[in-house]
């Protein structure tokens, strides 16, 4: 099965080379960070988590969303997903990998990271987060590789695997719930301490992940002879639509309690995100254009997806999905973590902007994810094309 990863067209190798270059640049930037410390980032005493943890949070969502293909297929026997389910599982694997890497590069003392396992601390949500992420990575690798290998050999996957498949469904929900609990359990940060955070995370994740799957499925369809099926893509689009609407609803619920109650601590965060804060004649509003754009993306795409003419049009829907991802990324991968620190617990406003090396490390990690994704998808395509009798050297 692995042999498909080592045989490919020129484009395949060019793509891997492209990711490789970005990875190398990221590694270089990380080497500087290792030498000089986290001072090379834009983070500060007041905004002590930044881009890395934001990306981690966003990617946990992408990872969790594999459940949106696993659940309909294995629990509801939704036949259209027969060929899509592996695409979801093999998105989850690199997604979890990037999550772990984002956590890792955020550590001040990465060499000591095993202390989390050596001194397991059950009252720390971070310990649980690490455990569930590890578990999720193993589950998806296990399920994905075994089902694909069995498919290659033309037989049904072993019966015992069913247990792990069912287990992966609540597990997917758990990874994003626990990630939300990282934030939602902190009494000193009113912006995060809201019960709707975990549901919001899940809703936005189930809009983002399947959007990514739609884009990937359309690409796969175009560049290879393997067709995930129009019906599957349409079902995904429906899932995206519902999730996006629920996500927007949750956002409005959160915005209502914060704004209508008019409590300063809750209000400040929303002010910072959408209009900017003013103090001593200085305006703090770096996030404002982003957050406004994100809102526009989210509401417009949410509205557009309501129309079957758009939702089910394979020529249009991938582009809408790009904007859905942009919208949810701005919301979760940009606004959520940073705003929690502004204003600080001491009422100070320190803004945060990622630095160039910080961005390079981030891109490097995303490139590692993209690299693994490319290889895994190449394997899927190879297996599927051979099964369909097209020969292994297509692509």
């Amino acid at each position: 099965m692995l042999e498909h990863a080592f045989k490919g067209s020129k484009n395949y190798w060019l793509l891997l080379g492209f990711w490789g270059i970005i990875i190398a640049m990221g590694a270089g930037a990380y080497a500087v960070q290792l030498r000089d410390g986290l001072t090379i980032t834009g983070m500060s005493r007041d905004v002590s988590w930044g881009f890395y943890i934001s990306q981690f949070t966003f990617m946990v969502g992408v990872a969790a969303s594999a459940v949106m293909v696993v659940l309909p297929y294995y629990l509801h026997d939704h036949k259209a997903f027969a060929k899509t389910v592996i695409l979801g599982e093999f998105v989850a694997v690199p997604a979890v990998l990037t999550c772990m890497l984002f956590i890792f590069v955020d550590m001040g003392q990465p060499a000591r990271v095993l202390n989390v396992i050596l001194h397991p601390t059950l009252h720390s949500v971070m310990f649980w987060d690490m455990s569930v992420l590890m578990g999720y990575l193993v589950l998806n690798l296990l399920i994905g590789t075994i089902t694909l290998d069995c498919e290659r050999k033309g037989k049904h996957y072993p019966h015992w695997l069913k247990f792990f498949i069912y287990l992966s469904i609540p597990w997917a929900v758990s990874i994003h719930t626990v990630t939300a609990f990282l934030y939602a359990g902190l009494e000193g940060r009113p912006f995060w301490m809201t019960a709707i955070l975990a549901p919001r995370f899940l809703a936005s994740a189930f809009a983002t992940g399947p959007s990514l799957l739609i884009i990937l499925a359309v690409i796969v369809r175009k560049i290879s002879k393997f067709d995930p099926g129009e019906k599957a893509i349409r079902t995904l689009a429906t899932i995206v639509t519902y999730s996006m609407l629920i996500n927007l609803f949750f956002f409005l619920v959160e915005a209502f309690t914060s704004i209508y109650s008019d409590m300063p601590h809750h209000l400040h965060a929303f002010e910072y995100m959408f209009v900017g804060l003013h103090e001593n004649g200085v305006t703090y509003d770096v996030l404002v254009p982003w957050m406004r754009a994100g809102m526009v993306f989210s509401f417009i795409t949410g509205f557009l997806m309501l129309f079957p003419g758009i939702r089910w049009n394979l020529k249009v829907v991938p582009y809408v999905c790009v904007f859905i991802i942009c919208g949810t990324w701005i919301e979760k991968g940009l606004g959520l973590v940073i705003t929690g620190f502004i204003p600080s617990t001491l009422g100070h406003i320190t803004e945060y902007v990622p630095t160039a090396p910080e961005l390079m490390v981030t891109f490097g990690i995303y490139a590692i994810g993209a690299f693994v994704l490319t290889v895994l998808y190449k394997i899927i395509i190879g297996v599927r094309e051979r099964r369909a009798g097209y020969g292994a050297d297509a692509q």
Binding site: L38, N115, T121, L122, G347
Partner: protein, 272 residues
């Protein structure tokens, strides 16, 4: 070393148990909650605390002396930028001052006397009775010491995840964004007996646990008391001892704590 392995295996056992079933965790939490209700019941346990007289601490000389003493003893560097100005974003500090309005946000109202609003208030780690930083730390690098209630830091174990900084409602924790020794060498030098830190770990006030074991008072208390008019500006003692100096003051004067509504149980008291 066999002992540590056994401990580890035991913990690993608990962990796998916990993963397979999260209920024991919930159970333990509920049990802990029922034990913790009511701040007065816990008074029998030794808890070190500090009473800060805000009025006396308006003397800038006194506050500087206290902060200097602390930072010198513990080799806390003054982080500066390329031009030599204090780098506010990467500052490391154990004890410093904040404006009244920032220290006690829920005590501030529109008609509060201007002079109080502008007061500088000495702030440091509150050594909370239910510390959020301890709750979130994934490695027990920070923990609440049973014997005297100090929220301790183990700079050997800290992985620098900064979860504690996100959790602390008082901004009491500093992260070493940079190599601290570089700045010590540029500044006053490495003069304190306390080891310096390495980059990438979190640090904060430890109530001078190192000095207490030598029978000394915290450095800030000692220094403040030496300043003229600084007697009892900072008072340190044990809350479980009814005759301790802190209790004598707390029983007589009107004192407040920071953000009591959060339920962390801060142990720094302020005479307004």
């Amino acid at each position: 070393m066999d002992d540590t392995r056994r401990k580890f295996l035991k913990k690993a056992g608990y962990a796998s148990l916990g993963i397979s079933c999260a209920l024991p965790l919930l159970d333990a939490k509920l049990l802990a909650m029922s034990e913790e209700t009511g701040t007065h019941e816990a008074a029998a346990k030794k808890q070190l605390a500090m009473v800060i007289d805000i009025k006396k601490c308006q003397n800038k000389q006194l506050v500087d002396a206290a902060a200097n003493a602390c930072h010198t003893v513990h080799n806390v560097p003054t982080i500066t930028d390329a031009k030599g100005n204090i780098n506010k974003e990467e500052e490391v500090k154990w004890i410093w001052t904040e404006k009244f309005a920032n220290t006690f946000p829920e005590q501030v109202h529109a008609r509060l006397e201007r002079s109080i609003l502008d007061e500088d208030v000495v702030v440091l780690c509150n050594h909370c009775s239910r510390p959020p930083c301890v709750r979130v730390c994934p490695t027990q690098a920070t923990w609440k010491r049973d014997t005297d209630g100090i929220v301790m830091m183990d700079m050997h174990r800290c992985i620098g995840c900064r979860y504690c900084m996100a959790a602390c409602p008082y901004g009491a924790r500093s992260f070493n964004w940079n190599e601290p020794r570089k700045f010590l060498e540029k500044g006053r030098g490495i003069v304190g007996e306390y080891p310096t830190r390495t980059k990438g770990v979190v640090e904060k006030c430890t109530f001078c646990a190192d000095r207490l074991s030598d029978g000394l008072e915290p450095a800030c208390v000692e220094a403040a008391n030496k300043v003229p008019g600084g007697k009892d500006a900072l008072v340190f003692g044990d809350l479980s001892d009814p005759n301790s100096k802190v209790n004598l003051i707390l029983n007589k004067k009107h004192t407040i704590c920071r953000k009591v509504g959060l339920g962390t149980g801060p142990n720094i008291y302020y005479i307004i």
